[in-house]
């Protein structure tokens, strides 16, 4: 059983096209300036229709997570895996998986710096996050 593949809708297609191109694209409001995620046609802050897509930095920090011990379909081979919510450097939060690090409470420290990566699923690419070693070096 493969992992689930998202089904884009018209308002989310630019996000998934961006992911396929290796970019994390989110939206911002041209009137109030606020970036936001998930994709919508109106700014959730001020209601403006003047919204645009831009490519986010891909940097984030670990906001919260669980380590799931009962795998969902497609995740049977993973062992316990982290389902996380990360805070993008631009502000919005998104759910993701954390890769490149053991799924243990010791390795997954809240607020640790992360960087986006993309996991191929069929024709789609899924944004996941891995520890950002460059940010670690900057901080040390």
């Amino acid at each position: 059983m493969p992992k689930p593949v998202p089904v884009p809708t018209p308002e989310t297609k630019p996000f998934w096209d961006g992911a396929a191109a290796g970019e994390l694209r989110i939206q911002r409001c041209l009137d109030c300036g606020g970036p936001f995620f998930y994709p919508r046609t109106l700014c959730p802050n001020c209601g403006s229709e003047h919204v645009e897509w831009f490519t986010a930095s891909g940097r984030a920090t670990l906001y919260s997570y669980v380590i799931n011990h009962r795998p969902a379909r497609g995740f049977e081979d993973e062992g316990p895996y982290a389902i996380a919510v990360v805070q993008l450097a631009e502000g919005p939060r998104m759910m993701t998986n954390i890769v490149g690090v053991p799924a243990t409470p010791q390795a997954l420290v809240l607020d640790m710096p992360l960087k986006v990566a993309f996991e191929r699923r069929g024709d789609m690419a899924i944004p996941v996050f891995a520890p950002d070693e460059e940010a670690d070096e900057e901080n040390s």
Binding site: Y38, Y63, V66, N68, H69, A72, N97
Partner: protein, 381 residues
Amino acid sequence: MTSGGVIIAGAAETDEVGRLPEHSTLHLHVEAARNAVRDAGLTMKDIDGIASVSAPGPTAVAHALGIYPDWIDGTGVGGTSFLLHVRHAAAAIRAGYAKTVLITHGESGRSRVGAPRWSLDLASPAGQFEAIYGTLGPTTTFTIPLLRYMKEYGLTQEQLAYVAVAQRQWAAKNPRAMFRDIITTADVLDSRMVAYPFHLLECCLVTDGGGALIVTSADRAGDFPKPPAHVIGTGEAAESPTISQMIDFTESRMFRQAGRKAFAEAGITTADVDHLMIYDAFAHVPIYGLEALGFVKKGEAGPFIADGNTEPGGRLPLNTNGGGLSYTHTGMYGMFAIQEGVRQIRGEAAAQLDNPEISVILGNGGMFATCGVLVLARQPR
């Protein structure tokens, strides 16, 4: 129009709750409705309004009961829906749209008899932006905020575990509760890890069952066999349909919003509350609820429960039926939280308190997505 007061005149659950493989989803609604109508000393012919959730929905329930209603509410926002039904029924009764409203819940949560198949829409926001990461229902979504809370406020695993310990003490007094054996913090922490930081005993049950309510105007308070539960305050609020977009992982904005509405309408403060029900799908929800309703300050709810304040003999009896963690949890537990509030106000609960005047019920729908709050009282406001 009426004087404005509204009561719960009838309240009952299905004959049994737990494992009911011989009961279809529809039959659970029907049995609960029959019991509530009897409890109020009425017949189906007296009912002119119906509220229920899918499946199977208010039209199907009404038709199965031979009711052709003048007023219908199909609000389906998860396990708190029934609290919203009470609020909406109160408004309808005040407006004269209906006189006697039946609210039903029935769910074959465990046995899945005549129940809808679980499906995942991978085009919805929750599908496109959450399910792809291997979420598996509430155990992997409702639970995600807690680690952030633990870091910010120092809640310990032992304090989280004690929520289940305290509620089991209430369940031990309730012959209908599915789990009744006293447990310790160690038992909880030794139970299987489901989704770190949550162990099995910190997650709700999955059961079959149902419940129903009869709501009518307070002008008729003397017309029924059981004492009325006056609905003196109500609130509802919505936040985010996906857990990742919850505004602040350390607090529930919607709990606070709906709670303030309900307390203001009732004209009460936390000091007036004798009995409290907080929908406990997982052990952290009572912690978020106690803080959002203002019973304790932020960060204090874990120690408050661990110090024994909410267990039998404590000063704020909480989830006195044993809750979703130990009593029953069909999937949409809110109906059972209301039922226990009514029983306490009437004086007929299994773990009956000493003449409680005011019971507050906080319901959650989805994963911190939708909230309802009811204030029930022995006397009109």
